[in-house]
């Protein structure tokens, strides 16, 4: 009887994925994404470990003799935020941008789309990987800054600033996705650099820009991340944090959305 019943009832809904297995699928995808990033030394080393010595050298040692900073130690918080912003941007733009472009070229994305991946898990995994990298490198720079005793932020302010910086990886993930979704594997590094390098220098994070360039710093997403982070830390900034965070959210939605459209339609 049983057999008959199962034969006659069509399984219209398809096999159900238990919620635990579904969550596990997201988790495993993210875990392997992270493992892969760690196993690629050319990626892990510069983005995880380099921000600390860079910050210590440029942000602490070089600044040690400055009279301006001696008179106004708050300025150190600004350079801290700048170096952290840089640390956050790298894994997001390069890790996702180049990684995704390579996966597309290798038809891996096509295979993943044919397999029953839970919706979005591949992209979420890439994003979590970048966020984890951002958290680690921001954490390391924070420890270095605290050890060097260069921050005048309140503990709450520092936590808020770090949180904003880490979450601030998201718009750059979106930009990475955008690059990875449209560029070929060979062109992706060039595009990534085109956003990354001018972004960190021309947004005025590390040194005051010449006057005529200052109004243009707003076109770089890095500027908005830096300003939002500084405002979260309680620093004075010239722009409303509501607007800078709105810009960051909009960038995430715009680039992320365009990338997802593109990926949904092609490979």
């Amino acid at each position: 009887m049983n057999t008959l019943a199962t034969t006659l009832v069509p399984d219209a809904a398809g096999p159900l994925m238990p919620l635990r297995r579904l969550l596990r699928a997201y988790l495993i995808e993210s875990r392997f994404q992270f493992i892969q990033a760690l196993r690629a030394p050319a990626f892990a080393f510069p983005f995880l470990l380099m921000p600390v010595p860079l910050y210590l050298f440029f942000g602490v040692l070089m600044a040690a003799g400055s009279k301006e900073i001696a008179a106004n130690p708050v300025l150190m918080n600004y350079s801290f935020s700048g170096w952290c912003s840089m640390a956050v941007m790298g894994p997001a733009i390069f890790g996702i941008g180049i990684g995704l472009a390579m996966d597309r070229d290798a038809n891996l994305l096509k295979l993943k789309r044919a397999m029953p991946l839970p919706p979005g898990s591949y992209l979420i995994a890439k994003m979590l990987m970048s966020l984890a990298f951002a958290a680690i490198s921001v954490g390391l720079v924070t420890i270095a800054a605290l050890a060097a005793g260069k921050l005048t932020l309140s503990p709450g302010g520092l936590l808020a600033m770090d949180a904003v910086l880490i979450l601030g990886a998201i718009p750059f993930c979106a930009i990475g996705l955008f690059i990875g979704a449209f560029a070929s594997a060979s062109a992706a590094p060039a595009y990534a650099n085109l956003i990354y390098l001018p972004g960190i220098w021309l947004s005025g994070m590390f040194f005051p820009l010449p006057k005529f360039m200052q109004p243009w710093s707003v076109i770089w997403p890095a500027f908005h991340l830096n300003m939002t982070a500084l405002a979260a830390g309680g620093m004075k900034v010239g722009v409303s944090p509501v607007i800078t965070s709105a810009v960051l959210v909009s960038i995430s939605v715009l680039f992320g959305g365009l990338a997802i459209r593109r990926l949904a339609r092609t490979g």
């Binding site: 034969t7 994925m17 892969q36």
Partner: protein, 696 residues
């Protein structure tokens, strides 16, 4: 009146409200100093007043109604996804693109004016509201989002508290009683009157202050438009109530016009230096009467389906989103021309609409922009396959599980540009069989498989996987895939790759069992990048079978394998089939198909040219090969009746014939020295060669 007709009419109302917004914003520069036109117009001021009276109230009534429609059709999750796509995304993206343009156009227009006090007034606003943020005309999307969230919360709570439905029944009865009289606006305007009745702000532009410059929700807008939204929601609970509005359209409109006239002309009501509650009351009431009148008139006159209205309804959302920078820019550009407003105003409107309609037609309607805004796109020229459209598929007739094919192409067509990859192909994959898909390069095999995997969508015809769309992830949970030319994650080991693939499936094989079945145990610890080409294929095969699929797609699985590995893979495939798995196999090795396949489909030039069991396909070519040693020359034998071809191959005579028996008889009679005689039936390779030759 059917609910379909009613919804068509409401679509028209929404479009009318949005398009009126464009007219409204165009009138503004003719009586406000932003930028100061040479040509001021009191008439356009009145037009502004009239449109402003009803526009947003009407819009939010329809929005509330459609919100409940979407939630009823697609469930809470579907509703959230739909609103996120069509309201939230346009809000965020629109803000980053349109608002800077709008403000830029506005400032440009103002700075062109010679009057420095105006410049100062506009560039340095005196009052900065809390949470100042330039939402500009996108504020309505922001408030929609607020209403949606509030509504989902209230609905969730109501479903728990009022599980029996007593409260909602009471509410429905109240709505009905109210609408069956002319008095409904009195009650509906009451909440907003309580907020604004004694508020002088109603004097500035009239009506509810537009909440376009702050993220902090503004009380008048929340109450005024919230009432309209909730009312629309309640209307959808009893759609037949719309008929009441339809019958009373004229009465409502007359009441609305009368109240508007009173606001503008009757002394004592007409707005003086301070707002009077009488004015506020008349104005707010007139909003509702106008809205009811306009909705009723639409139900009365625009109920049928009309291509033009449909097009405008689809276009209106984009037109409204994009119009403001253009309108402000044109207003500034025309500001100093000394023409009469009756020339300038229609001209600006005409240019705006032309540009916007063109941009809609070419940039939005056929692209993903249109899909985001309107939930679908209209491709130019091409008819689309049924699975591409958003419309829900008709549920297939329930069939006994055993008879239902696992995968089907039904008259599938697919072209890339001008080349037709699939030209009306029908293939089905049955339970427990191995179907070999054969064909020369470019025959359409990969296209067929890509359709089944949901990687491509058919231009026409249907594609089914497990009786459903291959685009649904549930369908793909029952399949395993091995594709050509794929590079897997190079830095992961084979074991990790299998674990990753296993995580996608509800009930996968254990990793150990998979390694065993596919003979990949020796490779388990090696990183993918270090494997040879054949070993990579084995790893991919393991990933394809780990999910215990009911259907396995193997695209050229044995390319690059050595003989031993190939034998192992064949054994594994046979075992899977024995356990009830079906397989779709493409291969260039015809002996592989001959060894494994239950059924063969031969494709050429995008069409099925033969299908059936291996024996059936082989027999479509009725020929045999005879070989022997002997003294006869090939040229002589070639002339015999029934001989198709005869050649000498290394001391052997090889004859191809359609009539083996007669040829052998004649051969033995003609030459006594014949030895090593062999007769072989045509194999699949012969059939394949012959069939594809014919097709070419």
């Amino acid at each position: 009146m059917s609910s379909h007709e009613r919804l068509h009419a409401l679509d028209a109302v929404r479009a009318f409200a949005l398009l009126s917004g464009i007219v409204l914003h165009t009138t503004m520069s003719f009586f406000l100093p932003i930028p100061p036109h040479v040509s001021q117009s009191a008439t356009l001021n009145v037009l502004f007043f009239l449109i402003h009276t009803w526009r947003m109230t009407t819009f939010f009534i329809v929005a509330g109604l459609f919100a409940r429609l979407v939630i009823a059709r697609r469930g809470t999750r579907g509703f959230i996804a739909d609103r996120a796509q069509r309201i939230l995304v346009p809000l965020l993206v629109g803000w980053i693109i349109l608002v800077p343009l709008t403000i830029g156009a506005l400032i440009w227009g103002v700075t062109r004016s010679a009057d420095p006090t105006t410049v100062a007034a506009v560039t340095q606003p005196t009052v900065v509201p809390a949470g100042a943020f330039p939402l500009a005309h996108l504020w309505f999307l922001y408030y929609l989002c607020i209403f949606y969230v509030a509504l989902l919360a209230v609905r969730g709570a109501a479903l728990r508290i009022d599980a029996a439905g007593h409260l909602s029944m009471l509410l429905d009865r109240g709505t009905r009683a109210l609408l069956c009289s002319y008095a409904a606006p009195l009650l509906l305007a009451a909440p907003i009157f309580a907020v604004l009745g004694f508020d002088q702000r109603i004097a500035v532009l009239g009506g509810i202050p537009t909440p376009d410059s702050s993220l902090v929700p503004q009380m008048p807008a929340l109450v005024g438009f919230g009432t309209a939204f909730v009312f629309g929601w309640l209307l959808h609970r009893q759609l037949d109530l719309l008929d009441e509005l339809r019958q009373r359209w004229l009465g409502h409109l007359v009441a609305g016009v009368a109240l508007s006239v009173a606001c503008q002309t009757v002394p004592g009501i007409k707005l003086g230096p301070t707002a009077t509650p009488l004015y506020a009351g008349c104005y707010l009431l007139s909003s509702w009467y106008w809205s009811f009148g306009i909705i009723g008139a639409a139900l009365r006159f625009c109920d049928g389906e009309s291509a033009v209205r449909r097009y405008l309804a689809d276009a209106s959302y984009w037109l409204y989103l994009a119009h403001l920078p253009l309108v402000f820019f044109l207003a500034a550009a025309f500001a100093k021309l000394p023409w009469h407003w009756a020339i300038k105003f229609p001209l600006i409107l005409a240019i705006t609409m032309t540009v916007l309609l063109a941009s809609y037609h070419y940039l939005v309607r056929p692209t993903w922009l249109g899909e985001i805004l309107n939930g679908r796109r209209y491709p130019r020229g091409k008819r689309r396959a049924s699975f591409e459209s958003r419309a829900p598929e008709p549920v297939p007739m329930p069939m006994p599980l055993a008879a239902q094919p696992l995968a089907e192409l039904i008259d599938a067509r697919k072209s890339y540009g001008k080349s037709q990859a699939l030209d009306g192909v029908a293939i089905e994959v049955r339970r427990g069989e191995l179907l070999a898909l054969l064909g020369p390069n470019g025959a359409g095999k990969s296209t067929a498989i890509s359709l089944w995997l949901g990687l491509l969508q058919a231009d026409e015809g249907q594609v089914r996987l497990m009786g459903r769309s291959p685009l649904e992830v549930e369908s793909r949970r029952e399949i395993g895939v091995m594709m050509q030319e794929v590079a897997l994650e190079p830095l992961l080991s084979v074991r990790e790759l299998i674990e990753l693939a296993a995580s996608y499936y509800p009930q996968p094989l254990s990793i150990e069992a998979t390694l065993e079945l596919t003979g990949t145990r020796p490779l388990a610890g090696q990183r993918y990048a270090k494997l040879s080409a054949g070993q990579k294929r084995q790893a991919q095969f393991a990933m394809a079978v780990v999910g215990q699929p009911r259907l396995l797609f193997l695209d050229e699985p044995t390319v690059g394998l050595d003989v031993q590995a190939r034998e192992h893979m064949w054994r594994a495939i046979r075992r899977l089939i024995k356990d009830g798995c079906s397989v779709v196999l493409t291969t260039h090795y015809l002996e592989e198909a001959e060894a494994l396949a239950d059924r063969v489909v031969v494709l050429a030039k995008g069409r099925v040219i033969a299908s059936g069991s291996v024996a059936e396909v082989r027999s479509t070519v009725s020929r045999s090969h005879i070989s022997c040693t002997g003294a006869l020359s090939a040229d002589e034998v070639r002339l015999w009746p029934g001989v198709i071809e005869a050649i000498r191959e290394a001391h052997k005579l090889v004859i191809t014939t359609a009539d083996a028996e007669s040829v052998v008889r004649r051969l033995l009679a003609a030459d006594a020295s014949v030895r090593q005689l062999e007769v072989r039936q045509a194999d699949l390779a012969d059939a394949f060669t012959e069939l594809t030759k014919q097709a070419a």
